[in-house]
């Protein structure tokens, strides 16, 4: 783990029609770090992801990645730099096969727009996709449409799509939602096994998972970052407890 931050979010704020959704949020993430991001519903976690990935522009503040100011960069540019996200809702391509789901991801930066002579591109992506499925223990699912898989497997595919290109930073928006504890832990294990180098920001309502896998945990409440520290410190943090831990919010979703 190096000391130079991979991602630095500085005093970022955004409002939707007068409603302040994020106010002066700052955060740094080191390369290789796994950061948990927790907070009650509506705290602004997904909004923060939207800002880091370029789906939204902050009204003030800056986002710096790998030493480069990307506050106004387009999403595609950020993907090329190595920032990829998942979505809170499942965003698989349900009618396409598992292979093709991964193929779309793998080709985005590698011949994805070719009209002609694309068969080399397709084969290259498919071989890489099969390799990923093998390592994720899903090789036998390669040719199945994603919609025919179990919910747990679909969530895995959803995450595999995003980590297929081995990004430097992967933003996971509640990847374990709706999964059993065992399934959730399996998913996290798959992620770590497939890209051990990748830095993660993990949003989850299952605090056990967050506290067990994350190096640090950040707590958002009503658009403010009220704490960011080691899991042990966050457990003991009064503000964090008041905002989140004490309320047993994890039961909500």
């Amino acid at each position: 783990m190096s000391d130079r931050p991979l991602l630095r979010i500085g005093n970022v704020g955004i409002a939707f029609g007068g409603l302040k959704v994020l106010s002066d949020v700052s955060l740094t993430l080191n390369a290789g770090e796994v950061l948990g991001l927790i907070g009650p519903n509506g705290a602004g976690k997904t909004t923060l992801f939207n800002i880091v990935t370029g789906f939204l522009r902050p009204s003030h503040g800056e986002v710096v990645f790998d030493g480069q100011d990307i506050t106004h960069a387009r999403t595609a540019q950020r993907v090329r730099m190595g920032i990829v996200r998942t979505f809170q809702k499942s965003m698989v391509f349900p009618d396409l096969t598992v292979l093709e789901n991964l193929g779309l991801a793998l080709r985005a930066g590698d011949g994805g727009y070719a009209w002609w002579g694309g068969s080399a591109v397709l084969t290259r992506a498919e071989v890489r996709a099969r390799d990923i499925l093998l390592r994720a223990g899903m090789y036998d699912r390669a040719r199945r449409p994603v919609a025919s898989l179990s919910y747990g497997e679909q969530r895995i595919v959803d995450v595999l799509i995003s980590l297929a290109t081995e990004p430097k930073l992967l933003l996971l928006d509640e990847p374990t939602a709706g999964l059993s504890k065992a399934e959730g832990e399996h998913l996290v294990a798959v992620i770590r096994a497939l890209c051990p180098e990748t830095s993660l920001i993990l949003v989850a309502h299952d605090l056990d998972i967050v506290f067990s896998v994350c190096d640090r945990v950040a707590v958002l409440d009503l658009g403010r970052m009220i704490a960011c520290d080691t899991p042990a410190a966050i457990r003991a943090h009064e503000g964090a407890q008041a905002a989140y831990l004490g309320k047993g919010k994890e039961a909500v979703q």
Partner: protein, 332 residues
């Protein structure tokens, strides 16, 4: 498992699919080759028209079936290319290569202009904007009398021929026109198929299914849509280039939005997303128009009825409906 095994798995799974398709295509080709021996001159011209309009509908399927983009301006690309070919034919003679070349360039150019306006929109906005852009093109053609003949259109075109360097083939007979149209239709189908199987076409499907995800993966959605429009415009333009030679006439109705709407109807009846369903839809609608309109003016009512019935009984169109009947029920 080694790299070669994975590559082999990839190739093997693809080749079984390909074999079945090749058998299907071969059957259709034999059928198409037999038509000239059984049909009258009039029927051959009519079959050529079906193939030409069907090719335009096939190009619309790229947008509707694979991009989820319903256009009400597609006839404009087709008709615009037809006008360009007709005007060029009167000036320089009707060489097939020249005609198709001009048609493709015109179709792509008009698709590009349309694309500039619509490529960032979807759904209803896409529908309305393609309609508006199409009608602007229609207005231009309708009022530019000196070149397009205005409301009267253009008549009296030179005979279609193919210069081959050492010889020149006369393509003005009904049989030659039919064969030309059949070759065009097949080539268009092959091009469209290779487009949807190429990375670009698959990305287009991705934008139809999950646009947000595609953006998050770094795809440029507008660029993908523009590529689909250009491919579609090229095919529609190539088809349009032959259209004036069916009846030695081209008129502004070929660019009107009502013809675009009819193309959408043909596509839905035939089967969205199947490509070859376009020809079946075109055959049904043009058949009704030609044969029923001699009994009643209300042929559009009949087309409408078939449209409604298709949507109710076989919502994925005739090719899928018949296909799933043959495969037995239960399968999607």
């Amino acid at each position: 498992m080694t790299e070669t095994v994975k590559a082999f798995d990839a190739a093997a799974a693809r080749s079984t699919q390909v074999n079945r398709r090749i058998a299907c295509v071969a059957g259709l080709l034999v059928l198409a080759a037999l038509v000239p021996f059984a049909a009258s001159d009039y029927q051959l011209r009519f079959a050529a028209e079906i193939l030409i309009v069907g090719t335009a509908v096939l190009s619309l399927d790229l947008l509707v079936g694979f991009g989820g983009l319903v256009s009400l301006g597609h006839a404009t690309l087709f008709g615009g290319a037809a006008y360009a070919a007709a005007v060029a034919a009167r000036a320089w003679g009707a060489d097939l290569t020249l005609m198709v070349g001009i048609g493709i360039v015109t179709g792509m150019a008009m698709a590009f202009v349309t694309g500039i306006v619509v490529m960032r929109t979807i759904a209803l906005f896409f529908l309305i904007l393609t309609l508006i852009v199409g009608q602007i093109f229609w207005e231009i053609v309708f009022h530019w009398r000196s070149v397009t003949g205005g409301a009267d259109g253009l008549r009296g075109l030179p005979a279609l021929e193919l210069h081959l360097g050492f010889t020149t083939l006369d393509l003005s007979s009904s049989r030659a026109l039919y064969i030309t149209a059949a070759v065009l239709a097949f080539a268009a189908w092959a091009v469209a198929r290779s487009f949807v199987n190429a990375p670009a076409g698959r990305a287009l499907i991705g934008t139809r299914e999950r646009q947000l995800r595609m953006s998050a993966l770094g795809y440029d959605i507008a660029r993908i849509r523009m590529m689909a429009l250009l491919a579609s415009g090229a095919i529609a333009g190539a088809a349009g280039a032959l259209y004036p030679f069916v009846n030695q006439y081209i008129g502004p109705n070929s660019m009107h939005w009502t013809f675009s709407a009819m193309m959408v109807v043909m596509l839905v009846i035939g089967g969205v997303g199947s490509l070859y369903g376009a020809f079946i839809g075109a055959a049904i609608c043009l058949g009704i128009q030609t044969y029923i309109s001699s009994y009643t003016d209300r042929w559009q009512l009949v087309v409408g009825l078939i449209f409604v019935l298709t949507v109710l009984i076989m919502p994925r169109g005739i090719v899928h409906g018949v296909g799933s009947l043959m495969r037995g029920k239960g399968k999607p």
